[in-house]
């Protein structure tokens, strides 16, 4: 899975939770949850969605590292490498 495919998968997962998200409006360097208004249930569902789609395990201890969209992409890329 290359960078673009990974990004597409993450965006698709995000859109399943927040259908109104416009990809172009997302800043990769800003906190994702405040940009998209994800509450804790949304966030959990987002991570569950990533887990199901990409077969990666995301321990709760790692949540704190997943702040921006860029963080999420880097984290997943490393996990999938």
């Amino acid at each position: 899975m290359d960078e673009n495919e990974l990004r597409a998968a993450v965006i698709a997962t995000l859109k399943a939770i927040a259908p109104e998200v416009a990809e172009g409006d997302l800043r990769a360097d800003r906190p994702l949850r405040s940009q998209v208004d994800l509450d804790s249930m949304d966030w959990l569902n987002f991570l569950i969605g990533l887990h199901e789609r990409l077969q990666v395990d995301i321990p709760e201890a790692d949540y704190a590292r997943l702040v921006t969209l860029g963080d999420v992409l880097d984290y997943l890329a490393r996990k999938l490498a």
Binding site: A18, S40, M41, E60
Partner: protein, 388 residues
């Protein structure tokens, strides 16, 4: 003969639009069965029935908007037949109507009785187009669904969706306005807040979740819900309704969970018997409730009977929330964001994760002293998360 009436699905509901019957005359129904889908201003709600019997007559057609309390259907009780049934005023009136109709030279079929009017051609076309005929509004005589309605619905279903969403948002805004205005007009609120150390609870939750697959992990929200429900056992005056000038305590804690909808607005459907359920079960139910609230498929009992509301502005929120009570409830508990704060413990200054709990309560029912003890109880419960 039992009359099934449109229930009130919340203080902000005056009327509802029947979208779909789930039953037909002759069906047996049992308590808790979903019998109809009713559109309130907030959502399409699966309405349950709380009587048992055999459906005799459907009195309301899909598409009709009726006030709360309007008889929607009649049921025959066990042993009753249409002949020996004690007739309600409605059914007694029917023969008169038909006599009047027979005397008229152009008898009009009595509207609002029997099966929904859908022309044979419309039904056939809907099948061909894959349109759910029950969702199509009728523009024909007496609200009949015609061919043109089906074709318009098929053609316009995509185009109409944004408009419907806007209407729904406007409706919901109106409903919230009505309920909250009533609350602030009628309920003398008092407000209390208490910072609660959360080190134990967060540590306990992290440990509990560490051993779980992601889909089985718990959220702090359910820990807080359970704590509220348990605190209510000691403080029943926070749990129930103020109706007809008196407080009616509720036997169980059906905790309404304020759920914000992505397109705006909020609903606060109940999780039933929160005090009696495990955290795992509460988590499952909360996830399901949030999903259905956002999909607009809530059940009538969830909307009709919350005995208290909990609002959790959560991790992205603010430090403290002071809620507005949802009438006729008498209290609302708020949770702010968990924030690391300077905290003195055993004479030493340290850093502590803190959540500010708040209580908005009805002063007609309880006083600040009891409210303060309630928040203290909640604080203590959250120090022993393993017991929740």
């Amino acid at each position: 003969m039992i009359e099934f009436k449109l229930p009130s699905l919340g203080a902000d509901m005056d009327e509802g639009k029947l979208l779909e019957w789930k039953i037909r005359p002759g069906d047996r129904v049992s308590k808790g069965q979903v019998v109809a889908v009713v559109d309130t201003s907030k959502a399409a709600v699966d309405v349950e029935i709380w009587s048992e019997g055999t459906v005799f007559e459907l009195l309301v057609e899909s598409g009709e908007t009726i006030p709360v309390g309007t008889p929607m259907a009649t049921l025959l009780e066990a042993g009753e037949t249409p002949q020996n049934a004690r007739h309600s005023p409605h059914t007694a009136a029917a023969p008169q109507a038909s006599v009047a109709a027979a005397a008229s030279s152009t008898p009009e079929p009595a509207a609002g009785v029997g099966r929904r009017r859908i022309s044979p051609a419309a039904r056939k076309r809907a099948e061909e187009l894959g349109v759910d005929i029950e969702t199509v509004d009728g523009s024909g005589p007496d609200g009949a669904v015609t061919l043109a309605d089906v074709e318009q619905a098929a053609g316009a279903s995509r185009a109409a969706a944004p408009q419907a969403a806007i209407d729904r948002q406007a409706e919901m805004r109106r409903a919230i306005a009505a309920a909250m205005s009533r609350s602030k007009r009628e309920i003398p609120h008092y407000y209390l807040a208490e910072p609660v150390p959360m080190r134990r609870a967060t540590a306990w939750l992290a440990q509990a979740n560490a051993g779980r697959p992601i889909a089985a992990r718990l959220l702090m929200a359910v820990v807080q819900l359970k704590a509220v429900a348990l605190a209510l056992k000691t403080f029943p005056e926070m749990n129930g309704f103020f109706r007809d000038g008196a407080f009616q305590p509720a036997a169980a804690a059906h905790v309404g969970v304020a759920i914000s909808l992505r397109q705006g607005g909020l609903v606060a459907p109940a999780i039933h018997d929160v005090g009696e359920k495990s955290l795992e079960q509460l988590m499952t139910e909360l996830a399901d409730l949030v999903k259905r609230a956002r999909a607009g498929t809530l059940r009538s009992s969830e909307l009709a009977d919350p005995t208290i509301t909990v609002t959790n502005l959560g991790e992205q929120g603010v430090a403290t929330v002071y809620g507005v009570i949802y009438p006729p409830q008498v209290a609302l508990v708020g949770f702010g964001r968990i924030i690391d704060q300077p905290w003195v413990e055993d004479g030493a200054l340290g850093v502590m994760p803190i959540v500010t709990t708040s209580l908005a309560a009805d002063h007609r029912v309880s006083d600040g002293h009891r409210g303060a003890r309630f928040l203290a109880e909640l604080r203590e419960l959250l120090q022993q998360p393993e017991k929740l």
